[in-house]
Amino acid sequence: MQIGENSKELRMDPARQPNRHFDYSFKTENLKKIYLSGETEVHALRGVNIEIPTGELVVLLGPSGSGKSTFLNIIGGLDTPSIGQVYFRGKDLSNLTNQQLTLYRRHNIGFVFQAYNLVPSLTALENIALVTEISNYPMDPLEALNLVGLGNRANHFPSQLSGGEQQRVAIARALAKQPDVLLCDEPTGALDSETGAVVLNALFDVNQKFNTTCIIITHNASIAELAHRVIYFADGNVSNVVVNQVRKSVEEIKW
């Protein structure tokens, strides 16, 4: 079956040193996204050409409407480009069917959303199990919770957790499937700085320990000092790419 084969090809287990053949995780060529809003065309992306190396912690910075969320959605397989190519380790995502995109998301990508998006009727542990049940190489959900320091909160419902705790559960959920890439859309946007630091620390740890590529959208420029690479977005395109020679640790950041 074609779908099955594709999914196998796409599937890369970080535990099996997956990054041998490709030194980049994503590469885009002339990536454009055009929305129709009423009768006017909105150019959300205007031909992005960029490579994101494997294993890096990358921060996307830019004002609202600069196209970074659209970019993240397209490389995460949530959305498709209007024009241009996007490659995940040499595999063209722009031609995948809906079903193939679903499997790509299922096996390769971990998402962390600004609004946490936990299922309110499931406990922290069950929210993670929701994802591990459909993954090929999941960790134990409790282990994932321990990684974000919430092992003692396993049986709490989202309504019984603070915002920061909820976001850490969301990160644990994304980690638990052992994805190739973690995509985070303003993970600290709804949190105060102290809680935000805890959440970022968790992401930082993951990147260090598992060599997982992490791409984080943020408005907070100081987070950029954590990253290997900072990609600046403006008006639907990449305006600048800065590679940090020296990375700060979470504790060193000024908020």
Partner: protein, 788 residues
């Protein structure tokens, strides 16, 4: 392992348990009605088929005046005839202690050696007759029970003008008399009509039928054309005063049984279809709401790699959980009520045994149909969610667009408080949705009207029958037509106030290739006691010449006013007449053909005769009159209209009202289910908005006004729609129930509308109260945080 997604399913379902219970109940109502009706139908059919088969119910029935037994041998030789049973059958009157009026009955010959070849009888108690036993009879069970007889009791019978005492030796049931009614009656009355079996030789001697017979039943071989055999039988019996031979379809008892089957099928389909449509509608509304509130969750599930199919199945499972609950409750209710229904049938239909059949097929089908309707309701709701691209689902739905309402454009808003303006804008913002809610609620009143109308219509039917057409107190029929002076005899009896003679002539009515065996009835020019009425219920004056046909009969024969009907008379000189149809009448019961009695007598070319008399009596003399009537041997049939009516009312009260009560029970459940759901969903959609208003300082009352103002308005709009829809459903039902025997008119009392409105309003109040308690418990802080 149960799986996290399934856990979510269970908790989400539990979270909206009130609505789930409401929907399950509506489903269980649909399933239960289906099981009751088709379970009863199944039981009746199975029982009847076995009964007919084991007791050799005949295929063809013929009666005649008198023929020597050798004629039966000629019938036996007709190709396709498997078996012939010839009998002697005689009408009798009985004088039963404890009954003022005479009872009537039928005495049927029983072979002196062995069992009957056809239409065997089932012995409930006592014994069969000994060969050549004299003055002993087997009696049918309902008469036996009605008169609290005991084996060995003697009954006093007038047969062929002589009084005889006959000893009851056995109690029996016959496949020919599952539904046993006196000629001219509609409802069985075991007290006033009985079937008796007597030794052949003894009966022959008593009624002067030695070596002869007057009744014939035939069993045909498989694949034999019944029509051909009947024609041959008619030819052979014609010289012996044979009436047209009939098949099972026209045999009285079987005809009624079949009739009941037809009605059960109509009821069995129509009601569940309505109930299950309502359930599907509710499922759709609730699931749409579920999907709307879970928009972000659905987006997340898609983002982490659940497929559209996984998500659709997730919501479908939720619905199947409700269906399963509804199924269990429905099956239990259905079996419980089905047993009751079957017991009811056992009172009217006399079978050796009648048990409710727990037919697995019926139950599986009912639950399956329910699941299908629920799945359809869900799929319509899911379609949008499944098609939502995941990135889109991640964003919260865009804020609703409000516009100035129509009323405000007219400038009327100045008169309205700002709370009323909120209510109006809510209604106008989503007119389609408001309309849908109104239609949903209208189902509640529609089902109530539909459930209640049957009682109204039946009452109307009885009123028309016994107050406008059959206005006599008594109706007597003679053993055979008698000269006109018999009328004088009756008129001279004590207590008789008024008499009108009638003449019934059995006939075969033919128009083109349509024919119907029936009778034509001769009445006086302007009959007062027994009237013929038109569709406006006004009395019709019978014209000098020509036939007045019941509308149903005209429909069967495809004949119109002005066309000529061929009437093959099956009595006396048996002329074939050509009579024009001059008018049609409205009849709810039976298929009558009426003609002026003088004109009829002329056409028959014989001295004026009458076959019976309609009598108006002075109630004070009733006892004396009945005593005298018991002594008149020529009277073979006697119907007391007040008794007929009473029996009708009793049966209505017991049978129909039980059904109506069941329906009202279900209709109330549905009414409540629909309204509660609508209110609950309105609350869940507005919870945050209402909480904001509370934070801004509105009182609970003001907040409730916003919520219930909208719902109340929708409920009011739903009422006229519902009543109108109820009329349509009732119309469908009344035509579905139409048979040759009965046309149930569409007649709805104002009280039915009133009652329906009342139930809906009460359901609305209860629902509002339940939802109001939830408004009170809105947690202002958490509502503001946006946690649903």
């Amino acid at each position: 392992m149960i799986g996290a997604l399934n856990l979510k399913l269970l908790r989400d379902t539990w979270n909206i348990k009130g609505q789930m219970v409401a929907i399950s109940l509506v489903m269980s109502a649909g399933i239960a009605v289906f099981i009751i009706m088709f379970g009863a139908l199944d039981s009746l059919k199975l029982t009847r088929d076995t009964y007919y088969d084991h007791y050799q119910f005949a295929d063809v029935f013929a009666s005649l005046k008198r023929a020597p037994q050798s004629v039966a041998k000629r019938i036996q030789e007709i190709p396709g005839v498997a078996r012939v049973q010839h009998r002697v059958v005689f009408g009798i009157t009985l004088q039963m202690p404890g009954l003022n009026e005479p009872a009537t009955g039928k005495l049927i010959s029983y072979p002196d050696s062995g069992e009957p070849k056809l239409n065997k009888v089932y012995l409930r108690s006592g014994r069969y007759l000994y060969p050549n036993e004299e003055n002993s009879v087997l009696v049918d069970e309902s008469f036996y029970i009605a008169h609290q007889l005991a084996l060995g009791d003697k009954v006093s019978v007038i047969m062929n003008g002589f009084k005889r005492q006959l000893k009851v030796v056995g109690v029996v049931l016959s496949p020919e008399y599952i539904y046993s009614i006196a000629p001219g009656a509609l409802m069985p009355d075991g007290e006033r009509y009985g079937i008796f079996f007597m030794g052949r030789r003894s009966l022959e001697a008593a009624v002067n039928m030695k070596g002869a017979f007057n009744d014939l039943t035939l069993k045909l071989e498989r694949n034999t054309k019944q029509e051909t055999v009947k024609e041959r039988v008619d030819q052979i019996l014609k010289p012996y005063g044979g009436l047209i031979a009939i098949g099972r379809d026209e045999q009285v008892s079987n005809f009624f049984v079949e009739n009941e089957f037809k009605q059960l099928v109509s009821l069995g389909w129509l009601a569940p279809i309505i109930f299950l449509s309502v359930a599907a509608f509710l499922v759709n509304v609730v699931m749409s709401r579920q999907i709307a509130t879970q928009r972000e969750q659905i987006g997340m599930l898609k983002a982490v790699g659940y497929s559209d199919l996984d998500i659709s199945l997730h919501f479908l499972k939720m619905v199947l959980v409700i269906t399963a609950c509804g199924g269990v409750v429905g099956i239990i209710l259905g079996i419980w009520m089905g047993v009751g229904m079957t017991e009811l049938y056992a009172k009217f239909f006399h079978f050796p045994i009648l048990k409710f059949s727990f037919s697995a097929e019926v139950m599986i089908f009912a639950v399956f149909a329910c699941a299908i309707s629920a799945v359809i309701g869900t799929l319509i709701a899911i379609r949008n969610a499944a098609n939502l691209p995941p990135a889109e689902a991640m964003r919260p739905a865009s804020p609703p667009v409000y516009k100035k309402t129509f009323l405000e454009k007219l400038g009327l808003h100045r008169r309205l408080s700002f709370l009323s303006r909120i209510v109006l804008r809510q209604l106008e913002r989503r007119p389609f949705r408001s309309m849908l809610s109104a239609i949903g609620m209208s189902m509640a009143s529609a089902i109530l009207v539909f459930s209640l109308f049957l009682e109204d219509s039946m009452t109307h039917l009885v009123n028309v029958q016994y107050e406008l057409t059959q206005r006599e107190d008594l109706n007597l029929t003679f053993v055979e037509p008698r000269p006109k002076k018999a009328l004088e005899e009756i008129r001279s009896l004590p207590g008789v106030l008024k008499t009108e003679a009638f003449r019934d002539v059995p006939a075969n009515l033919i128009f083109k290739h349509y024919q119907k065996r029936g009778a034509i009835t001769g009445l006086g020019t302007d009959p007062d006691l027994r009237r013929v009425i038109d569709e406006n219920l006004a009395a019709v004056t019978l014209p000098e010449k020509g036939l007045v046909l019941g509308a149903k009969l005209a429909e069967i024969l495809h004949i119109k006013v002005g066309e000529i009907l061929t009437v093959e008379v099956l009595e006396g000189k048996r002329p074939t007449l050509q009579i024009p149809v001059v008018a049609l009448t409205q009849e709810y019961i039976g298929t009558g053909a009426y003609i002026n009695i003088n004109s009829l007598n002329q056409l028959l070319d014989e001295a004026p005769k009458i076959s019976g008399v309609s009598v108006q009596i002075d109630d004070n003399y009733a006892a004396v009159l009945f005593k005298q009537l018991k002594q008149i041997p020529q009277i073979v049939g006697l119907n007391i209209v007040s008794v007929l009516r009473r029996i009708f009312d009793e049966i209505m009260a017991e049978n129909l009202l039980k059904m109506v009560t069941t329906n009202i029970f279900f209709a109330s459940i549905i009414s409540f289910g629909v309204i509660y759901n609508t209110a609950r969903i309105a609350l869940s959609e507005r919870a945050r908005e209402l909480a904001s208003l509370r934070v801004l300082g509105l009182t609970r009352k003001e907040v409730a006004y916003i919520l219930f103002g909208e719902l109340g308005f929708i409920a009011l709009v739903s009422l006229p729609i519902g009543l109108w829809f109820g009329i349509i459903l009732s119309k469908a039902m009344s035509s579905a129930l139409e048979t040759e025997l009965f046309r149930i008119p569409l007649y709805i009392n104002n009280s039915t509308y009133g009652y329906s409105v009342l139930v809906v309003l009460i359901s609305a109040l209860i629902s509002f109260y339940l939802v109001w308690r939830q408004v009170e418990s809105i947690d202002l802080v958490s509502a503001q945080k946006g946690v649903e």
